[in-house]
């Protein structure tokens, strides 16, 4: 692992594992949320607001968002490395991806802890 190149590939076992773990976290959250929606009554504003007012729901949603950001970083980086060959373009797209993920996370925190 010495010859690492900043725009290189083929040493992503950590990323690979992180993508799988975050996938499982998001899958569990998705199924729980889905079951709550399917079994519940029609959703009114009160029900919706109270759901996201609970501490555990805020934390669970934040964990989902962080998992999504991490998972998407690995996935989008894979796509960029496959199709964007010039180093400058690759770097620019990776920076944009990071900024988008950071913006998503900031927005999520803002929504959850208003």
């Amino acid at each position: 692992m010495v010859n690492r190149v900043v725009v290189g590939a083929h040493y992503g076992v950590g990323s690979w594992l992180a993508q799988r773990i975050t996938a499982v976290i998001m899958a569990v959250y998705s199924v729980i949320l889905l079951v709550m929606f399917m079994s519940g009554r029609p959703i009114s504003y009160g029900v919706w607001r109270d759901l996201f007012a609970q501490g555990w729901m805020r934390v669970a949603t934040l964990l989902f968002a962080v998992s999504l950001g991490w998972h998407a970083w690995v996935g989008v980086r894979d796509i960029i490395m496959d199709y964007a060959r010039p180093d400058g373009l690759r770097l620019a797209l990776q920076v944009i991806t990071i900024l988008v993920i950071a913006a998503y996370l900031g927005w999520t925190v803002q929504i959850l802890w208003r």
Binding site: R20, A23, V24, A27, S30, I43, Y45, W48, R49, F52, L68, A72, G75, V76, I79, V100, Y104, W107, T108, Q110, I111, R114
Partner: protein
């Protein structure tokens, strides 16, 4: 030299047209390709769109009513929601298949093909079900 004309040029770069219309990709390749496409779509624009919807619907009762009673009743929004549901369902089902493949489950070709068709069927059924629930 006589076989020069018969020799295929290598490497062969496949155009999108060739991938779609000239060669028949096996089912696992479609699962993989659509997993990538659905993942890219979920990252952008769908995360941004869902955050907008969550933001608006949680901000105030008027915001919730706007999203619930007007915005999501628009045909374009419903089509967007349907595409989102398919992308999520496919990414979810194909992702579980990949997790199982990582654990060396379903590696043999017949099983790999069968689970590919199961992913297509499951994601389309989920899309149909939730689409019907939403309409």
């Amino acid at each position: 030299m006589s076989s020069a004309a018969a020799k295929k040029p290598r490497p062969k770069y496949l155009s999108l047209f060739a991938l779609l219309f000239e060669i028949r990709l096996p089912a696992p390749a479609w699962v993989s390709g659509l997993h990538r496409i659905s993942g890219a779509l979920l990252f952008f624009p769908f995360v941004a769109w869902l955050l907008y919807l969550l933001d608006t619907s949680l901000a105030s009762e008027q915001g919730f009513a706007h999203v619930h009673d007007h915005y999501l009743k628009l045909p374009l929004a419903k089509i967007g929601l349907l595409i989102f549901i398919w992308a999520y369902a496919h990414h979810f089902c194909a992702g579980i298949r990949f997790l199982l493949l990582d654990l060396n489950k379903g590696i043999a070709l017949p099983q790999a093909r069968m689970t590919s068709y199961m992913v297509f069927a499951a994601s389309l059924l989920l899309t149909a079900f939730f689409g019907w629930r939403l309409w």
